[in-house]
Symmetry: D2
Subunit: 354 residues, 4 copies
């Protein structure tokens, strides 16, 4: 259950305070030139300690590629890579050894497996997403060959929302502020709000939006592997997610069919309520979707919970936790989107005999 | 790509106006007594022609079981079943042969495969969901052995929303009105609204909510097969869906961590913002999620589109189409939930050696 | 566990004396013209009652296609088909209801599932192979587009062996006698021998050999899905098989490396000890493999066994059983080979980005 | 295509002269105590340089576990491990850079992928089997909990064959000589023969036999995942294999049904022609199978071949190659058997609802 994808398949492993986390990316096509500096730059966007909005842990998150590349190109063999865990302060977690954090995986892991690596959250740690980011960065090399672009960004924090996606969405614009929101005015408010929440020992959630540009027509599948169904699973598999929608999504439900259908005029689509996908298959328009992330479960405010033997406990979590995961979730959403799109590009090649 | 599930795997087939639609349900445990009348009753809830709110096509949707049962019980062999297509009026679709309906799968199927069974929407027809309903009804027999219950219902049509889920949610209450909304006052408004929309030759969307009760602790998986990720894919694979969220979902994003975390008091959860799932694994509380459905794409109002050769066309769809898919989507959501939960029950048995 | 294949995936169902047997062939490429008479002709080669060497049951084995074809071509949707069970004499099996036939699946099915459809052998019946033959015949339409040919034939019955494969191997030659051995002199001896065995109420096994011609270079995969490993699983999944080898196989073990290696002279392979596969990937030479089939377990000679409660029983099986499955296994081996090769053709298209 | 197994799934990676080889073992049940010294001892049996019969490369093959264990037990999380490549003499392979070794993967990899890591054979190297051995050793910990034992041994080298498997088969007996044949008289002849072949710069093949004891009744599946079909694929996926059979296999084809069927007398099986599997499901008797390995393709004798541009070349391979892979293949066969059996133990738990 630690494998994702149909043809391009990512298998991941690793606990937060174990030796290393890592992944094996199988089904990667041969002959693609890989720029490891690009991979590292994706990881750098996700790693902790980037700004005042995120955890102050400092992990260098250096990728070490073990296989699958030869003289700078993919060979068709599985690409394996690891990221060593360095800044492990397992003693920060000693007080969580016998206590279940509210709304965290602590309890459910213990119940399911009867054993739990509590150090740093173990396998449940968001640290696992670093592997997704590295894998997505590899996948992006495939997409780049045909000029597909993916932009993920923060569009909502608490009740602070962007009202409109700017037409000239670029990575530079998204990276222009610490919260990764391309609307710089709202971004400033978001940053102020997150800092306030952080100082309260609390946390806050929000929405990461994503736009995939220049996708060819025909990616996806009619029934269970609908492109948006695969995107939904990909996104909902990221830690702390609570919802997914695409195109007009939940917000468009008040529109009638005649208002929400995308008409063609002179062979061109005049709107994109569909979010670039019809019947589970890309129609060539931008693919647009949103992912909801809840507030971080681990907070320093005191909360009522129980310990391993079911006794009542008050818990104020120590350690270094993000007050808001959204800024660091941006590269994760982008990476998962890259994996899904690359996978469906490969899958699409099996639809007819060449 | 027509198979769904890990251990309990449903493979489906069939076009709307072909010979039959059907499915093969593999991995079904042996020795479960099956009541075919229950299966048929699920199908009867989904079939067309039930009320003024739905299409006037009349399909009896009689299930024919071909294999996998012996003397009333499952044998561990695959359960195959078909549903013959009867009320085929393919001539209703002759005018769609060369035209792409806006926001429909017509264009994307043609582009992907270079060939398309246009009659009745072919494989893209919502008729395919009948197979899911039958399969889900089989799966429900597994859940019933341990008293798991699933209630799906309409909670929103256009901007008409239920404000609160009644405590005494029952199938009888849900079935007490044509729109399958357990709040009978809102239900009456919804019905009136859908009839108005229908008379305009238009369509409207909404939300199906679902509540799974009495789920054991421990279903799900840590990373890619998180219970909510599998539910998301299951739901987003249903025709016309636009969004999925669980627990507080999109609506809870304004709450802080201290407000959204579920605390334990005396070993009991005092709230359920999590929607019954933490870290991808069920925690024993009710599993609550929502699914957004867009307005039916096929409407009789005139729309601008293009034909196979890219020429401009005005299209007013003929045929018998639902002005609102929500009432008939209720049993589909329930069925997909049953498949996912049964699958994870089986999968959970592999977590330790017995 | 009733699904076979990576991209081209066959899911099968059905018990020998149930309503029908059938299959769903998913991942079949779009736009392939299908000749249903060819499919039926493959089934006719496998069906019972063809000659004195095989069971005298008469099943017409008429295929009924339910989905996936439109105006004579594949659409990319799953191809589902059923074959009704007609000549069911379940009373022939009443005496086997509580008794385990020696070396048959009776005991193991009962032990594994706690329930068993004993009529006609249920799911364990070789009747299931009819579905494989139909699916293989569909797959063969893909291979025919690039002139790949597959010839399967009987090369050994008991200790009667062909010494050499004729250079001009054709389907006509194979079909020229009832035992499907292209060496007509040995064939006559085989037939005489099988008839003698049959008259003794006994059974005999042998070898089906297979030669795949005109395969492109590059089919297969380096590690677990080696072309010969997939062929091995495909063949060993056929009822009554006991062994598989390819190229020189078991018989070549006495040769040294210098004798068994295939050298290139002037860019041409001068021998084919490898059987057309090196490192798990086809090298363009003929793919040659053998499949061993044991004697039919169900014989009319008296045998010692036990019943459901473990008591000692003498059993003389009634009913109509093949004294030798080999002649009817020939189209099954051919069909499974066609499925594997077509699957790897599709898979090979994902190795690079086009 | 680098993943093996249904529930217990091994994904492997790594090239012979890359940074490391390794694997991820997913689906491993929680709470199993792991003895890493046992894992290492399995690897030590496979590593090069053990005797005069094998290659003189010296790889310490030290396993480094990266994840999935906590305080000595499995946690249900994926177990990842790597083995660093140490004794890399890539210059030994420089002369093979542009030349295809006869009957090796060199040509087919190049043709399939258009690129090839020629150093040490890259991904095609038998070094990959070290990962299988480590994974199998983990799996064996599951089997040990219910006293399942697996013994693999050399039963044939060239035309030197063991005539009978000793009743008291033990690992000590198998390990008592360098060729790992439990018949010490034949073993001595085998060793002498291999040394002679080695001195000729040539190579020789043979058979590894395997016996799985104390298997519960009920492992396997009726159709495509028949226990022997999964074993066949597992074994045929090992480098240099040419054939697989089980029970009486190819050698039993001369026996009639009345001679080959296993009768029950007083509820006990009196013979084991079936090799412990009937209808694809284990019957509780010892599982017995054989695997044929061809002579090592890489030999120092001069051979005719071609280079990358198709020109005629004479090749005498340098480097350190095994004259006979059989002794080192023994732990690989055992490991793959352990993986298959453990996988089916887990799978069997999904057959009914507990």
């Amino acid at each position: 259950m630690n494998t994702f994808g149909h043809i391009l398949r990512l298998t991941t492993f690793g606990e937060s305070h174990g030796e290393a986390i890592g992944g094996v990316l199988d089904g990667f096509p041969a002959g693609v030139r890989i720029d490891l500096q690009v991979i590292q730059s994706w990881l750098d966007r996700r790693r902790p300690g980037q700004s005042s909005l995120t955890t102050q842990r400092t992990e260098s998150d250096k990728i070490e590629v073990l296989s699958g590349l030869f003289e700078g190109s993919s060979t068709g063999a599985p690409i394996a890579f690891i990221i060593r865990n360095q800044d492990k302060k397992s003693e920060d977690y000693e007080h969580l050894k016998n206590v279940f954090r509210p709304s965290h995986a602590d309890f459910t892991y213990q119940a399911k497996y009867g054993i739990r690596d509590y150090r740093g959250g173990g396998r449940a740690s968001a640290r696992e997403t670093a592997v997704r980011v590295a894998a997505g960065a590899f996948a992006y090399h495939i997409l780049a060959q045909i000029q597909i672009q993916i932009h993920a960004f923060v569009s909502q924090i608490g009740n602070l929302k962007m009202t409109e996606v700017p037409g000239n969405l670029t990575e530079e614009l998204i990276e222009s502020n610490g919260v990764r929101c391309p609307d710089v005015l709202i971004a400033a408010q978001m940053i102020e709000y997150i800092e306030k929440i952080r100082d309260q020992g609390d946390s806050i959630g929000g929405v990461v939006s994503c736009c995939i540009q220049n996708t060819p027509v025909g990616l996806g599948a009619p029934i269970y592997a609908k492109l948006h169904a695969d995107l939904a699973q990909a996104m909902m598999s990221i830690n702390a997610t609570k919802g997914f929608d695409y195109g007009d999504g939940f917000d468009g439900l008040t529109l009638k069919g005649s208002e929400q259908n995308d008409e063609w005029i002179n062979g061109k689509l005049t709107s994109n309520h569909s979010g670039g996908i019809q019947g589970g298959i890309s129609n060539g328009a931008d693919i647009r979707f949103r992912v909801a992330f809840k507030p971080t479960a681990t907070i320093s405010k005191s909360q009522k919970t129980m310990n391993l033997t079911g006794e009542q406990v008050d818990l104020s979590a120590k350690g270094r936790h993000d007050p808001c995961v959204l800024p660091r979730a941006v590269p994760v959403v982008k990476a998962m989107a890259a994996l899904v799109i690359a996978d469906h590009l490969l899958l699409n090649q099996t639809v007819s005999i060449k």
